[in-house]
């Protein structure tokens, strides 16, 4: 297992260096003067330009600049935002919990509905139930989620008024963020109705973000289950007289879950992309909306830092998924 971890890391490190080179070169590829872009100042005297250029390190050789940048990144210095003048890493940590909370609820929703749906479809293969479920899954898989979000707003926030349109909690409630996770903070605040308010704000964005992973997980579970159900050991288990529930739920499910777990892991990267759209529609103050806003504000420092941070998170998540996969399926380790 340790050797497996080392092999994965040996691939990960060059990839991370490559990602950092891309984030580093990004600001230098933009049309225009990088000193002006990074400082956010448009017209400046040559003296001021020289000072800022020196502060930002642009007067040194490019290789030195890169290693300076990499050294900064390693010690947690991702630069400062042009617009808010705050350190990028601080901003990231203040917004990241919102995205994690949303993604976590969405993936739980997707797993809780997707795996049973896929299993039932596989067991009732060819029935109307199977065809209906897989039809719905294909529609979900093809869904433009930004439109889906708008439709849900029209129906549930506009016509029915069940759920709020945007934000994380009603403005009536105010408490200091402790964990950054609104569900936990609202419980800890002890204010009446705060938790319910946080939950109702989370409902629509979670559904929207869960849609595509849910469809993918249901389809993957179905096909993995079908494959396992035709194996000899499942027939043996049935012939032994085990109850159908035991055969499917215990014997077949364990092996069918191996490809499904990989799929779930891969969905996390997809969800971060989905968070960009979902957070924009619901004004959810997470990193997806932060990136979109930064693109519009031309806050290139934030784009540069955010790009690297998001890529690093996806790589770490993928590493964890790989390791989990190695734990469940010993064959993959070698």
């Amino acid at each position: 297992m340790f050797g497996f971890l080392l092999r994965r890391l040996a691939v990960l490190i060059p990839t991370f260096i490559g990602v950092s080179i891309i984030a580093f070169s990004f600001i230098r590829l933009l049309p225009g003067d990088p000193v002006e872009l990074l400082s956010g100042e448009r017209v400046m005297s040559p003296e001021r330009h020289a000072i800022i250029s020196h502060d930002l390190g642009f007067d040194r050789p490019i290789v030195v600049q890169y290693f300076d940048y990499l050294g900064g990144v390693m010690t947690g210095d991702f630069g400062t935002s042009i617009v808010s003048k705050k350190p990028i890493l601080d901003q990231f940590w203040s917004l990241f919990p919102a995205t994690v909370e949303l993604s976590f609820c969405a993936i739980i929703l997707a797993i809780a509905l997707g795996i049973p749906a896929g299993m039932i479809a596989a067991i009732k293969r060819g029935s109307i139930f199977d065809q209906g479920l897989m039809g719905i899954a294909l529609v979900g898989y093809s869904m433009p989620i930004f439109w889906w979000g708008l439709l849900l707003i029209i129906l549930f926030s506009g016509t029915l008024q069940w759920f709020p349109v945007s934000g994380r909690i009603s403005l009536m409630f105010f408490f200091k963020p402790v964990t950054g996770f609104m569900l936990i903070d609202s419980l800890m605040s002890g204010q009446k109705g705060a938790f319910a308010s946080a939950l109702s704000h989370l409902a629509l964005p979670s559904i929207v973000l869960a849609t595509i992973p849910l469809a993918v997980i249901a389809r993957q579970t179905r096909s993995a289950m079908l494959e396992v159900l035709s194996e000899d050991y499942v027939r043996t288990a049935r012939a032994k007289g085990l109850s159908p529930f035991r055969v499917v739920g215990i014997h077949a499910l364990r092996n069918a879950m191996i490809p499904v777990i990989t799929t779930i892991g891969l969905q996390i990267g997809v969800m971060l992309a989905g968070a960009i759209l979902t957070e924009t529609i619901f004004s959810w103050p997470g990193i997806g909306k932060w990136m979109v806003d930064s693109v519009f504000r031309r806050d290139y420092a934030v784009i540069q830092g955010g790009l690297l941070l998001i890529a690093a998170i996806i790589m770490i998540v993928n590493l964890i998924v790989d390791l989990l996969y190695g734990l469940i399926n010993p064959r993959i380790r070698h």
Binding site: W147, L150, I154, I276
Partner: protein, 305 residues
């Protein structure tokens, strides 16, 4: 002498006849999947709509009828039968804009898929054929591209290149390309050690001929399936970029851009939001249905699962 009798008795199979036979077999499996046939029909209809947009559309997609702003669909109270799906906030006919929008979506799909397919095949062939450090460098580069969420990478690339449909399409093609590289490389590595490739090399075929004429035709099945997936992904991503204001720019009747323009009216006029999104969904769904059918028909391993 025995040789001549053998060649005489064995009926020579012309490649045209074989191709016809393969097509017939393909259609047999494809047409078994009712969803795939439905998808194909919808897709063909969309192509017809896109090609004959100027004949079908009742109005110009840009003409603003200022007396008929935010008109509901014809069947609703206050609707006007000459604007079947209603009008948008500046009085343009939504149906006409949707019809012209089909041109955008199909063009985006074709352009992005071609670009990423051709680029991916060439790079993947090189990586799989030469192996060694060339392969390592190429695959690390692909890992780097895949480390970013595709939409985020496309968004940032468009921020660099400037927001426009062309730049958006190039950015999306770049994010879709690694999948083709990986597929081609894996297929090439599997095929390269086969006897027919060795025989062809011994007969004096050069690397270019080996790569493109000998090996590539035997790797096409997974590539075709991936291409349909990329087609629908390209349409979705381009619409998402348009929705974020970073793709096609107004007043272009691109479906995602139409949604972006309609966003502030969602609680007042449901039709300006509903129809463009429905158009995207139907198009993407039709292509994905076709993709499922293609996968079943082309990939014997996945057949009937």
């Amino acid at each position: 002498m025995a040789d001549t009798t053998v060649t005489k008795t064995a009926e020579p199979v012309s490649s045209a006849a074989m191709r016809r036979q393969m097509l017939r077999e393909f259609w047999f499996y494809f047409s078994e999947n009712r969803g795939a046939v439905l998808g194909l029909i919808v897709f063909v209809l969309l192509v017809i709509v896109a090609v004959f947009a100027s004949l079908i559309a009742p109005h110009s997609p840009f003409q603003q009828y200022r007396d008929f702003v935010l008109l509901p669909p014809a069947w609703q109270e206050g609707g006007n039968p000459s604007y079947l799906l209603g009008t948008d906030p500046v009085g343009r006919d939504i149906l006409s804009r949707l019809i012209y929008g089909a041109q955008y979506s199909l063009f985006i799909g074709v352009f992005v898929t071609t670009l990423s397919l051709v680029g991916g095949i060439v790079v993947g062939l090189i990586a799989g054929y030469y192996r060694g450090w060339v392969d390592t460098v190429i695959m690390r580069l692909m890992d780097i591209i895949l480390a970013f969420p595709s939409l985020l990478l496309a968004l940032v690339l468009v921020a660099i290149l400037g927001p426009s449909l062309t730049n958006g399409m190039i950015a999306i093609a770049l994010t879709l390309q690694p999948h083709f590289v990986r597929l081609t490389r894996a297929a090439v590595m599997a095929e390269k050690t086969r006897d027919y490739v060795t025989a062809s090399r011994l007969a004096g075929a050069g690397p270019l001929r080996l790569m493109f004429k000998t090996i590539l035709p035997n790797c096409t099945a997974p590539l075709i399936v991936q291409a349909t997936l990329s087609f629908s992904n390209a349409i979705l991503d381009a619409a998402a970029l348009g929705f974020l204001g970073m793709g096609a720019q107004p007043p272009a009747p691109e479906w995602g851009t139409m949604l972006a323009e309609a966003r502030e009216f969602i609680l007042r006029a449901w039709w300006v939001v509903t129809f463009p999104g429905l158009a995207i969904l139907i198009t993407v769904l039709a292509i994905n249905l076709m993709g499922d059918g293609l996968r079943d028909a082309l990939d014997p391993k996945l057949k009937r699962s």
